[in-house]
Amino acid sequence: MLSIEFLLNALIAGLLLGGFYAAMSAGLSLSFGLLDVVNIAHPAFIIFGSYLTFYVNEHFGFDPILAGLVFAVPSYFLGVAVYRIYYNCFEKTGAESLRGLVFFFGLFFLIEVILIITYGVDYRLVRAFYIGKSTSIGSVGIAYRLFVPFLVGGMLAAVLYLFLTKTFFGRAIMGVAQDSLAVQLMGVDPIRIKTVAFGIGIATAVIAGSLLIIIGPVEPTIGREYIGRVFAVTVLGGLGSMTGTLVGGLILGVAESFTSSFFGPSWALAVSFGILLICLAVRPSGLFGR
């Protein structure tokens, strides 16, 4: 059972899954990692993205990735609106810690209920020419259903990394994360910066939703399965680090894949979260944390 071929396949499967985990967590890394907004509703926005993708795929035959990218634009404005409500109701009054958390919990359930009412509780899936097909490089098999989300997830993390490090707005976001008051003294409105960053976070969640429905079927409450994972990836990689989010996702993906392949799938989640705990004990700020 322990052949090089088997090992390589497990590694590739883990990397592919990890890329997708990174895509799911990128938006949370922005909001939670950089802005200290504990957006517990992030997975619900991901599922929201999955359903938007499902709708246009089912009715108009849109490619899921294209749908995700198109819907990212209006979703950005949705994120802006959500942050504005959050800011005015909680952050501005200094009540963000607990009541803000309750707000996002409420938002989580609200999105679920809206999806249930709109689409019903049935499992929804999409069709695309690459779903169900695979290719081989030597003895290593690669399923397009996983490769496409990996590719898009990697690109998403890279784009966000470049945005945060190379653009004025990105550097302003990093600045707000580092020292909001100092940024304010430079004449920049930190609330505006945070609003934009939160909007981008929701836009990436919607893109991640289009990736999720490529991998497997979704139903309105499936987001709950991913709360632990997205926060684990964000914390493991280091709060606010896009490189860390990508690496964190890959580590969890590979850990799950190796555990499933060699020791049995029932240990996969325990091993992943065990890694997170060890990392936090050794390096509390995460692998690439500030």
């Binding site: 059972m1 052949s3 088997f6 396949n9 497990a10 499967a13 883990g14 592919l16 899954l17 997708f20 679920e112 249930i116 689409y119 019903g120 509780v121 049935d122 499992y123 929804r124 899936l125 069709r127 779903i131 169900g132 097909k133 695979s134 098999g141 399923a143 259903r145 996983l146 991998i215 497997g216 079927p217 139903e219 309105p220 409450t221 499936i222 709950r224 399965e225 799950e256 894949s257 190796f258 499933s260 392949s261 060699f262 049995g264 799938p265 029932s266 996969a268 989640l269």
Partner: protein, 419 residues
């Protein structure tokens, strides 16, 4: 003074009228309340909502004929969110606050087991909807399970799969077992393990995967492939079943027989998505539009269901759970009518001692409340050429290959030949 007295009298009269109108006895005379929890959200929500629609169709059918013993039927239900922890509270409320006359179970083993102790404590008849060996530890004599698993449900559930395998030449030798880490799937695979031993198949892989919580099945199926089994028996839930079928195709996993206890492959939305990928899989099934399964009343029920289901965004064909959801309340209603009583003991005894004609065929219960004889079909998906719904609404696609008396077509072996 006279005006004040008039107002006081009027007030008392109003109070009296209101209290009479809301007295439980006043309502009790009008309605028979049947209470239950149902998974309307969560992983089992899709099937649970379809089951609810089937029960509502039965209620309307019965009420159109004047109700049960002259009393209209009212369904009182709450969403258990597919969470077993919610179930005891719901049944306590149904019995103590809503004062229901009868209770029936929600959908699925995980949601039936937590309700059984309450039913036992109150001495209620308890019809079960798709619980696999839920009564094993309780041994409650007023529990009746509509799912046709059979008297030894855990073993009978997968017997057909193994009998089919054992008949093949050359005889397969090895088997891989994979189950979701949840009550039903664990039970299904526990039975498969016992059958594997009984039929002499060597188990070369036997693992569970986290449910919920598994995103990708590729590494798991690669491990199965590395074990090179002749047979692959899977106990999974809808999301997992889709992931397993897709991953099996992607890594070209081709055991000689593949399937067994995969929930979800019976759902129309999943069938339409997987399409041709389903060909060759042999899985447990309870009803399909095959000529051998035309039970009295089933088509009339399905016509009503299929008219309403699209409006509620439910499984449009409804072949899996809805007929049985209709049947388990139909059977209870028939027992009430036959005994001319709402007495739990009398109704329970009647159900226990008689054969019942339902839309899912004749039902006779054994000592443990399971069907006296197993009628779990093994269906092989064959000749699926597209993803259209019409593909799955006609005969010849979900071919009954076990048992012999309901067989509707030939079994294609090995799996790769049927793909």
């Amino acid at each position: 003074m006279g005006r004040i007295i008039r107002h006081v009298i009027l007030g008392f009269a109003l109070l009296l009228a209101v209290s009479i109108a809301f007295t439980p006895a006043a309502h009790a005379a009008k309605e028979v309340k049947i209470g239950f929890s149902m998974a309307l959200t969560g992983p089992l929500g899709p099937a649970g909502k379809a089951a609810l629609l089937a029960m509502q169709i039965w209620r309307d059918d019965v009420n159109a004929k004047g109700g049960l013993l002259g009393r209209k039927v009212k369904l009182v239900y709450y969403d258990d969110q597919t969470k077993p922890a919610n179930v005891p509270g719901i049944y306590a409320k149904l019995l103590d606050v809503d004062k229901v006359d009868f209770i029936v179970s929600g959908y699925g083993t995980n949601l039936i087991v937590p309700a059984l102790p309450i039913a036992m404590e109150r001495g209620m008849v308890f019809m079960g909807l798709f619980g696999l060996d839920a009564n094993a530890k309780f041994k409650y004599n007023n529990y009746f399970q509509i799912m046709p698993a059979g008297p030894d449900p855990i073993v009978d559930w997968s017997r057909g799969f193994f009998e089919l395998a054992a008949k093949q030449k050359p005889r397969p030798k090895t088997i891989a077992l994979l189950s979701a880490d949840a009550e039903f799937a664990r039970n299904a695979v526990a039975g498969a393990r016992r059958n594997a031993k009984k039929f002499g198949f060597k188990i070369v892989y036997d693992k569970r995967y986290p449910f919920p919580g598994t995103t990708d099945f590729t590494p798991i199926l690669r491990a199965v492939k590395a074990a090179n089994p002749d047979l692959f028996y899977v106990g999974s839930y809808p999301g997992g079943s889709v992931g397993i079928v897709k991953a099996a195709h992607e890594i070209k996993l081709e055991p000689k027989l593949f399937g067994g206890g995969m929930v979800g492959l019976q759902y129309t939305a999943i069938q339409m998505n997987l399409g041709k990928l389903l060909n060759g899989i042999t899985d447990y099934w309870f009803w399909a539009p095959e000529k051998t399964l035309k039970f009295p009343g089933i088509e009339a029920f399905l016509a009503k269901y299929q008219k309403e289901a699209p409006k509620q965004k439910l499984d449009p064909l409804g072949y899996y759970l809805p007929p049985f959801a209709y049947a388990y309340v139909q059977l209870l209603g028939n027992a009430i009518e036959a005994t001319k009583s709402f007495d739990q003991a009398k109704v329970g005894a009647y159900i226990r001692n008689n054969t019942h004609s339902t839309v899912v065929g004749d039902v006779k219960f054994g000592k443990n409340g399971e069907w006296a004889t197993s009628r779990t079909f093994q269906v092989q998906l064959q000749n699926i050429e597209s993803n259209k719904m019409s593909e799955f609404s006609k005969a010849g696609k979900m071919v009954v290959v076990y048992p012999e008396e309901f067989k509707s077509g030939n079994f294609i072996y090995p799996y790769a030949k049927g793909k």
